[in-house]
């Protein structure tokens, strides 16, 4: 995977998360969707800046995403944890193909996804982004 491809893959995950947290924020009486929304927007903007620095214009995000809207807080929590796992995995893949400032960004993205996951009550893990809870 090229660095540009990995940046775009991370961006796609972040764009999906921004959209989803926007939906959750409108439905939940809980501060976490708004906090995660703001944090994911920062990630998205950092990734757009990194791609811009490479002279790359990424494809526009879809207008909407398929979503089973959570019916309660527990379902929202599971959805948020899944979003952050996906973001962490994309960031871990980005680390492999970057150096310098781009790797620094990839590490930050991975750390932020890991912290957002914990904010949504995910269990801390030794290697976020590399170890699926349902793996081996």
């Amino acid at each position: 995977m090229s660095t540009t491809d990995a940046l775009e893959a991370s961006l796609a995950q972040s764009q999906r998360a921004v959209w989803t947290y926007g939906v959750l924020g409108a439905r939940l009486d809980d501060p976490r969707p708004d906090d995660s929304f703001a944090s994911q927007r920062r990630d998205r903007d950092d990734l757009l800046a990194a791609l811009d620095a490479r002279g790359t214009t990424p494809p526009a995000p879809p207008a909407s995403y398929e979503l089973d809207v959570p019916s309660d807080l527990a379902a929202a929590r599971r959805l948020a944890q899944q979003l952050e796992r996906d973001c962490a995995e994309a960031a871990a893949a980005l680390v492999r193909v970057t150096s310098g400032d781009e790797r620094r960004l990839a590490v930050r993205l991975l750390q932020r996804a890991a912290l957002r996951a914990v904010a949504w009550d995910a269990e801390p893990r030794p290697f976020p982004g590399l170890d699926r809870p349902d793996a081996g």
């Binding site: 590490v107 750390q111 890991a114 912290l115 801390p124 030794p126 290697f127 976020p128 590399l130 793996a135």
Partner: protein, 135 residues
């Protein structure tokens, strides 16, 4: 309880095994066989530094009766080749130890030559930040 890191332990073990393989190269060359490329010397130092750092966090977690943090850090150490028995640094407060360790592991990641090592260290750094919620 933390489960499901089997695949990763293998990956981390491979990093450690590759590091150890470096000491065998002279013997391999003597047989006329071209050895596999050695890991970067700087990466070997980075991995050793990370093991020492994590060993310090493990000591802090055990001294401050935080078994959940100790279990998480022990899994990280297992994947990276084991604890450093020589770690004898003073034990700081656990929250401080975790933040400092995350910063050090991140720094090692940023300098790593091997993509495998960089990825594992980035993830370990994120895991240490998560572990602050357990301390």
């Amino acid at each position: 309880m933390i489960v499901g890191t089997g695949a990763l332990v293998l990956a981390g073990g491979a990093v450690y095994a590759a590091e150890r393989a470096g000491v065998l190269d002279d013997a391999v060359r003597a047989t006329g066989v071209v050895p596999v490329p050695q890991p970067d010397r700087g990466d070997e130092r980075r991995l050793a530094t990370v093991r020492t750092t994590l060993s310090g966090v493990l000591a802090a977690a055990e001294a401050q009766d935080s078994p959940a943090v100790a279990a998480l850090v022990r899994q990280q150490l297992d994947a990276l080749g084991g604890a450093d028995a020589a770690a004898t640094a003073p034990v700081p407060r656990l929250q401080v130890a975790l933040q400092d360790a995350a910063d050090r592991v991140e720094s090692a990641c940023l300098g790593a030559v091997s993509p495998d090592l960089a990825q594992v260290l980035a993830s370990a750094s994120a895991g240490l930040l998560q572990a602050r919620s357990l301390a």
